[in-house]
């Protein structure tokens, strides 16, 4: 069902036209969400692009793509589920979370059968972001201010990244093996992936940072984008510790995802998606998507569609057609 339809002319000499169709779906087959639906905290496309995995306080839910029909559910070992990440090989799904202010853990599920394989515990507060370093290692970022790297095969801790003065909010891996993290201490931190040594701290954000995403471009200095409570999205070259540019939005960006090498989509606290030209740092499109906060956004690996999810268990698919 098409809930919303908009289009505009992009300010380029090529007269690029974009069209967005927001296709409403939810966990309960297009019916208004019951008021007790917890928010969707993270989403991830399966490696083959055939399904979408969502997490919330209800655990895991797997939807078919693009129909968004509920295929199966899985309980998690902890009540507060915060993040998802598929392993590079696509045969494992790491789910982070915990019990707020008590413990944080990562539960590993096999994929696609979604069977719990193990739980990696050890944090004092929820795990909110997980990054795989190869198929057998993962790093868990926690609100207890620490990041822990695990050997999944041996279920042992490899090392701890210590430096954030408040909770860690997100993490990503650079092509050169360095780790970049963000925190509620408003800092972006760059770590040596081998030693766990803190290489540099970047402090231009003025409010807690919500999310980080690495630009998929293959050449030159790696670029990461960060989204924060100061309503800015900042673009960095973390290897040399440089902030390249930034843009301030009308609403707080809660999550970001790259669309190709030059555009980014942000899911915002006003429920809208904002498409941003990362080079010109201008908003190309603002699209109302969900009512409430859009906590998470994911871009489909093949078909150019993205999905936003958030308050009241809402999940919305946004299809973009682009014409020159």
């Amino acid at each position: 069902m098409i809930k919303y339809f908009s289009w505009l002319r992009c300010p380029t000499t090529f007269c690029i036209f974009s069209m967005f169709a927001v296709l409403a779906t939810s966990t309960v087959a297009n019916q208004p969400a019951p008021i007790t639906n917890p928010p969707i905290t993270d989403i991830a496309f399966a490696p083959d692009g055939q399904s979408l995995v969502c997490c919330s306080q209800r655990g895991l839910q797997v939807f078919s793509w693009p129909e968004l029909k509920l295929q199966r559910s899985a309980k998690t070992a902890f009540p507060n589920v915060q993040c998802l990440e598929f392993s590079p090989a696509g045969n494992r799904l790491a789910v982070g979370g915990g019990e707020p202010s008590q413990r944080g853990a990562v539960e590993i599920f096999s994929w696609p059968d979604c069977q719990s394989q193990m739980e990696l515990s050890g944090h004092d507060d929820s795990v909110v972001s997980v990054v795989w370093r190869g198929d057998n290692y993962l790093v868990a970022a926690s609100l207890d201010r620490l990041l822990t790297e695990w050997n999944v095969e041996t279920k042992t801790k490899i090392k701890t990244y210590q430096g954030h003065s408040r909770g860690v909010s997100s993490a990503c891996l650079l092509p050169n093996g360095e780790m970049v993290t963000t925190g509620h201490d408003q800092s972006v931190r760059v770590w040596d992936g081998d030693s766990g040594e803190l290489l540099r701290s970047l402090n231009q954000h003025s409010r807690p940072i919500n999310a980080i995403a690495v630009c998929p471009k293959s050449a030159g200095q790696p670029i990461v984008a960060t989204a924060a409570g100061d309503r800015t999205i900042r673009f960095w070259q973390p290897i040399i510790g440089r902030m390249v540019r930034y843009i301030r939005l009308e609403s707080e960006p809660l999550d970001i995802a790259w669309i190709g090498e030059t555009q980014i989509v942000a899911s915002c606290a006003d429920g809208q998606a904002r498409v941003i030209d990362a080079e010109k740092v201008e908003v190309l499109e603002t699209i109302p998507v969900i009512k409430g906060w859009a906590y998470t956004v994911a871009s489909h690996p093949q078909d150019g569609t993205w999905v936003l999810a958030g308050s009241d268990g809402q999940i919305r698919r946004v299809k973009r057609t682009r014409t020159e």
Binding site: I35, T36, N37, P38, P39, T41, D42, Q57, R58, P79, N80, Q82, E99, P100, S101, Q102, S126, V128, L143, R166, G167, H184, R231, R248, A269, G292, W293, Y295, S311
Partner: protein, 734 residues
């Protein structure tokens, strides 16, 4: 339906009572009003704004020392006392991906487990699982943790508003009723926080909603429900048994003061004699010592006539121009090599003020002209008002302090914790002042804007506590001036009559005089209202209000306490000893000695109270405690003065270098062979407006020996003059 029945019940009682001639309880005494403050016991959805946030306030969660602090606590920040429900809802429900709320298992919610201390909580155990507060919270989560604000609170009433105890130790129950815009009236006592202004004087039991008095006096308990705060007055009489003497005064001032004294059983000091009265009123209205040689005053003494004459004098204009110049912080100012207020601008403003006072212009007109002033401040005095502070936000603080007696400063960063002011109020008023150039020439600047810290956008112009101005409004100052000087404005008239009251009585009915707020009520609220109404009825005439106060019995009460009223500092059972201000003291010394002071490059003989620029240099005035006018000058000097002042008086050149100066009174009188005892008596009359009393004569006689050499006599006389000018009786108005 229950509410309607409750009303009917109250109405019936009211009618029966009227017929029977019995005392009638007002509706605010709510004995029969439905009590439904516990929605968790009903089927109604929990109202986030009207139920849950007040509960957090009652429990102290959003107080300044806890999560209501500027940076919150434990990464959890609430608005102070629930001032911004929307952001609080986001913080509780939505921030950190909703981790504080567990909709599938409410008892696993962090927002519940922390205060119940099921997990470690820095604030300790706030409630027990199963009590009313816990149930309310769980029910709200169970209902989906929605943002529900079913109705808007219009006001809150408390019962009793005033409690007069019989004796120390008396206890009373408190009841609080909330009134909403949909007509609902309900008992919210269980959601109300009670805080004693002085916790040693009153013991508050918040669970039982009772207060117990611990000592005599007048005490204030603040009831806080949602964003409303209401003061409750507790009066505990002293153990005195003496009755007040009869008072034939028709003054509403005397009646109000007397009523409070009767409640407190405080005895009153007698009326002052004529010489003390004339010294007191002359200093208070003109800043000068009385001219003791004025035979007309001394022989045909009528206090009303004296007051009228003083109010009509040029000296009154000079002195009150100084007082208003201090209030308005008039002084030339150079900051970081740029001139903000030129000396010409300071002179122009001072002279303009003096002219308004001389012409008897109403204070409303004075205020309006100042607030709407534009032009070259060096030529048009009122425009200087916009050069004395650096920016528009400071202008808002300054303007509201001067004309409303309100400290709105807190609302710059957050809604005022102790008053009604919101950030929108602060930044809405600042938006008006931001559209002015801030230089020597004040003019409208259409590009000026004030960025609201919450939105990051230009703040919209707004009247304090009122409406936003239409978006097309250019210069909003006229609208603000209209609102401020309207007859029904609740701040303007009260703020100025309170200042006038303090200038004569030594203590404001609201103290500090620039801190009007619900949580700092007047000692005599009805009197403050009457003074304000009387001021408005008399066209905002400053002289009228000063006269009404000056001719009251209360004003003429002796400052010497009697048995039973020694501890009174607020109820005017005796007069308040007021330290002479630096300018007045400096002039008084000059007058008594007959040796003029020198201030900067001003002409010799210029009096300190006549200085038109607060920045004119004077070491003597600085040491005596002159206000530097960069901030509020409301801090009154203590009767005995600071140590530096005392040392300067005792040892400095201000006295010692001038007592025997050539051409001074002492020098003249010695040279004219005036008998030493007459010289001392002259100094007594000049400084204290009285001759020496018998004890003093006896003491002086031991030292005045006409057989001594002239040099020895001069030394003795200088010491005696020094003693007179350093004694408490001289340096205070009493």
């Amino acid at each position: 339906m229950k509410i309607i029945l409750a009303y009917c019940g109250v109405a019936a009682i009211y009618c029966i009572a009227l017929v029977a001639g019995l005392p009638v309880a007002t509706l605010t005494q709510v004995e029969n009003i439905e009590t439904n403050a516990a929605p968790h016991r009903t089927g109604e959805a929990v109202d986030f704004k009207n139920d849950l946030l007040p509960m957090f306030t009652k429990l102290g969660c959003n107080a300044g020392k806890c999560h209501g602090s500027a940076i919150g606590r434990g990464d959890f920040k609430l608005s102070l006392y629930g001032g911004t429900p929307g952001t609080d809802y986001d913080e509780i429900v939505r921030k950190l991906r909703g981790r504080r709320i567990n909709l599938t298992d409410p008892e696993s919610s962090l927002i519940f487990m922390k205060p119940a201390e099921w997990v470690e909580h820095g604030g300790g155990t706030i409630f027990d699982a199963g009590d009313d507060h816990a149930e309310l919270l769980l029910k709200w989560i169970d209902q989906g943790a929605r943002y529900i604000a079913n109705r808007r609170l219009t006001h809150v009433s408390v019962s009793p508003e005033r409690f007069v105890a019989t004796e120390v130790g008396d206890e009373t129950a408190l009841k609080v009723v909330a009134h909403y815009d949909d007509g609902l009236i309900r008992d919210v006592t269980s959601l109300t926080q009670f805080v004693a202004d002085d916790s040693s004087a009153v013991t508050v039991n918040n669970d039982a909603a009772t207060v117990k008095t611990n000592r005599s006096g007048r005490h204030i308990v603040i009831a806080r429900y949602s964003t409303e705060v209401v003061p409750i007055e507790l009066v505990v009489p002293t153990e005195n048994v003496t009755e007040l003497p009869a008072d034939s005064s028709n003054s509403f001032i005397d009646k109000a003061i007397r009523d409070a004294l009767v409640d407190l059983r405080l005895p009153v000091s007698p009326q002052v004699d004529d010489s003390t009265f004339i010294r007191r009123i002359t200093l208070d209205l003109t800043g000068r010592l009385p001219d003791h040689s004025d035979e007309e005053i001394n022989s045909h003494f009528d206090r009303h006539t004296v007051v009228d004459n003083l109010l009509a004098s040029d000296e009154f204009v000079d002195f009150y121009a100084l007082k208003f110049a201090q209030l308005l912080r008039i002084q030339s100012r150079v900051d970081k090599n740029s001139v903000l207020t030129t000396p010409q601008a300071a002179y122009a403003f001072h002279d303009w003020l003096a002219q308004q006072l001389r012409n008897g212009v109403g204070y409303d007109q004075i205020a309006r002209e100042i607030i709407t002033a534009s032009g070259d401040s060096s030529e048009y005095g009122p425009a200087t008002f916009f050069t004395v502070v650096e920016d528009a936000r400071l202008q808002t603080e300054f303007t509201t302090e001067v004309f409303m007696g309100s400290r709105m400063k807190c609302a710059n960063c957050h809604n005022h914790p102790l008053d009604k002011w919101t950030q929108d109020d602060f930044h809405g008023l600042t938006a008006m002042f931001s559209k002015l150039t801030r230089s020597q020439v004040i003019r409208f600047n259409p590009l000026g804007k004030n960025i609201h810290p919450n939105t990051g956008q230009a703040a919209l112009m707004k009247l304090p506590g009122g409406e936003f101005l239409p978006i097309e409004t250019k210069d909003g100052r006229g609208v603000f001036a209209d609102w401020l000087t309207a007859r029904d404005n609740p701040y303007f008239a009260k703020a100025i009559v309170n200042r006038l009251w303090k200038s004569l009585m030594g203590r404001g009915l609201v103290e500090p005089v620039d801190d009007f707020r619900s949580t700092n009520p007047a000692t005599h609220p009805a009197l403050l209202n009457q003074l304000a109404e009387d001021f408005i009825e008399h066209d905002y005439d400053i002289r009228h209000t000063l006269r009404v106060i000056a001719v009251s019995t209360t004003y003429a009460r002796s400052s010497i306490p009697i048995a039973g009223n020694e501890a009174d500092t607020r109820f005017y059972s005796h007069g308040v000893q007021k330290a002479l201000g630096p300018e007045v003291l400096a002039d008084a010394i000059s007058d008594v000695l007959g040796v003029a002071g020198q201030y900067g490059k001003e002409a010799p003989g210029t009096r300190a109270v006549e200085l038109r620029d607060g920045a004119i240099s004077s070491n003597s005035l600085d040491i005596l405690g002159r206000c530097d006018r960069t901030n509020s000058c409301e801090g009154a000097p203590s009767p005995t003065g600071p140590l530096a002042q005392k040392l300067h008086l005792f040892n400095g050149a201000l006295l010692n270098g001038r007592i025997g100066a050539a051409g001074g009174h002492l020098d003249q009188w010695i040279k004219s062979n005036k008998p030493p005892f007459e010289i001392v008596t002259e100094f007594y009359r000049a400084a204290l407006n009285r001759p020496p009393n018998q004890d003093e004569i006896k003491f002086l006689s031991q030292w005045i020996d006409e057989t001594k050499t002239s040099a020895e006599q001069q030394e003795v006389l200088e010491d005696m003059v020094w003693s007179i000018l350093t004694c408490r009786e001289f340096v205070t108005n009493h």
